[in-house]
């Protein structure tokens, strides 16, 4: 299926162009926060400013409903992507696929005037789809950190096997006391800016974002631009090992990579969270799959780990890198040190191949890999 358009809402910008430019220039959205969310311990994170979000949302054609932060970000992102795609988002053949891990979970925290069911993920997805006049029941994918990749695979399934022409894939996550305290209790957060694949890495930074990709079915009479990017394949495999610790053999990720049979790959857009075990696990899987010479990049140093949004955000940035013939540097990394050697990209570099792999792993032992290819005529 083809990408028709996309959008990213993050502290680096409210359009894909702004976000991509910021990443190319090496700018990071990560900041130091103390006293945020009433938490006793400080942390680094990438957070979207409330005022900026409200201002941008206020410019949308009006509606009188009250929206949560997550819904505002999702609607803003989807609105921009849908406008750019030119599709009629309210049509019967358009399916909304929503990716998030915790949705509006912060509503559990305090008294609020939202209805009780607003904390359910399906409700947020419904509200977003309804904003665009779409009456199909949205698909919500909640597969921990791989959600954003799993949602794109779900969209592909629906476009290929069911009566839909277009899929609007939205990944969104907002941070809250709930999420940050949980990762703190897991001792997973870095006391510094994260350093993916670095020998001194000591944890991840969290981030919030919303991102949207509008996909079109391949055999449709859709006109795509000459260098449009296609999602060619997706694979998911479980480690069958532990619910939170990554497999030491990289089992599920290795199997996902092998299922895609990748060749002529320009780069691997890794998960690269900067936790000790995740990055080692990825290095093992990459080596087992024989991809150890392919440039590997992690975008966590720019956006933090945006959880349910990450798979969508990072796919979009990587697609634009592919179209611009570059592989992006891994921000924050000084000296690479993983259990198996991999070719971590430490400076933006030119590429010639036309495909890349996006991969993700997460709690529950889940792993996903996606294969994207730029549409080029071979003369």
């Amino acid at each position: 299926m083809y990408i028709l358009s996309d959008n990213i809402i993050s502290p680096l910008g409210f359009s894909t162009a702004e976000n991509f430019e910021a990443v190319c220039l090496g700018r990071s959205a990560l900041r130091y926060y103390s006293d945020k969310f009433d938490l006793p311990e400080p942390f680094y994170a990438s957070l979207i400013e409330e005022d900026r979000l409200n201002e941008a949302f206020g410019k949308l054609p009006v509606n009188h409903r009250r929206y949560t932060r997550l819904e505002m970000m999702s609607i803003l992102s989807a609105y921009s992507a849908i406008m750019d795609s030119g599709i009629d988002a309210g049509a019967d053949d358009v399916l909304f696929v929503f990716s998030t891990t915790k949705g509006n979970v912060e509503l559990l925290d305090e008294e609020n005037s939202f209805e009780k069911e607003r904390v359910y993920l399906w409700r947020s997805a419904q509200i977003v789809a309804k904003f665009f006049g779409n009456d199909n029941e949205p698909v919500v994918v909640s597969n921990a950190c791989i959600s954003g990749c799993a949602a794109q695979i779900a969209a592909m399934n629906y476009l290929e096997n069911h009566n839909y022409k277009y899929a609007v894939v939205i990944g969104a996550e907002v941070l809250s006391k709930f999420i940050v305290s949980g990762f703190q209790s897991f001792k997973a957060l870095s006391p510094t800016l994260c350093k993916p694949f670095d020998k001194n890495r000591c944890g991840l930074n969290l981030g919030e974002a919303a991102a949207t990709i509008v996909y079109a079915k391949e055999d449709d009479a859709v006109t795509v631009t000459e260098n449009a990017v296609r999602l060619v394949g997706g694979a998911m495999h479980n480690d069958a090992n532990h619910i939170s610790a990554p497999s030491r053999t990289g089992e599920g990720l290795y199997r996902s990579l092998m299922q895609l049979c990748p060749h002529n790959i320009a780069f691997i857009s890794a998960h690269g969270t900067a936790t000790a075990y995740n990055d080692d696990m990825e290095s093992v899987a990459i080596n087992r799959a024989g991809l150890n010479r392919i440039p590997v990049t992690s975008l966590k140093g720019y956006f933090g780990h945006t959880l349910g949004a990450a798979g969508v955000v990072e796919s979009i940035i990587s697609c634009h890198a592919l179209q611009n013939h570059i592989v992006l540097k891994t921000a924050g990394t000084e000296e690479v040190g993983t259990v198996n050697p991999i070719n971590v990209c430490l400076a933006n570099a030119e590429i010639t191949e036309l495909s890349f792999i996006k991969m993700m792993s997460g709690f529950g032992g889940s792993n996903a890999a996606l294969l994207f290819t730029e549409n080029k005529k071979i003369d």
């Binding site: 009433d38 006793p40 891990t101 915790k102 949705g103 979970v105 559990l108 925290d109 904390v119 359910y120 993920l121 399906w122 409700r123 997805a125 419904q126 029941e137 698909v139 919500v140 994918v141 909640s142 597969n143 921990a144 799993a150 779900a154 399934n157 290929e160 096997n161 069911h162 006391k177 709930f178 305290s181 949980g182 703190q184 209790s185 897991f186 694979a235 998911m236 495999h237 479980n238 480690d239 069958a240 090992n241 532990h242 619910i243 939170s244 089992e251 599920g252 199997r255 299922q259 997460g362 709690f363 529950g364 032992g365 889940s366």
Partner: protein, 203 residues
Amino acid sequence: MDVYILSSCRITNDRLIADGKEVLTRNCEKGPAWLNTIYRALGIQYPKFFKMDNLAKVGFLAAEVVMHDTEIARDRENYAVVCLNSASSIDDDRAYQQTIASKELFFPSPAVFVYTLANIVTGEIAIRHNIFGESSFYVYENFSALRLYDSIKDVFNNPDMSAVIGGWVNYDEDCDVLMLRACRLSDPEKMLLSENNINNLYK
């Protein structure tokens, strides 16, 4: 390609039904005590069960039932786990919220937090049964036989996949589960995976 239902398990607040036959009725308190009763009735030895949240417990138990007549396999390359529900991990979300609600007694629990991801139940099932295929979790407002049918059937688009443990696994004060073991085969003796048959098993 046809897909057949080889076994099914329904768990509600009050009953455990295996392959359409009632095997256990609740005579204890509802909720966690009921799940522990089922665990003991099934005669399983799996201490990790007691570390799970209610959603993972009930999904684990239903998977035990649908897998009871399978041989213990070291690797199940060709199996997938797919679960759907309405409340995602809301029951455990509320439990975790309790651990962070007070400023004075602020002790976020990692063991509770990890289950605030709905898909952990699919991971628990994959670990127990050595399943290396995909593990997916989807959320919809209500039980829908069609959505369950589609979610299971779509797994078989991957020609390497031959079996799915798939079902509706909801735990939100009430317990509402229908788990299926579905396989790709040609056996008219078995029950065809269809919207209608799923609805009959859910009743």
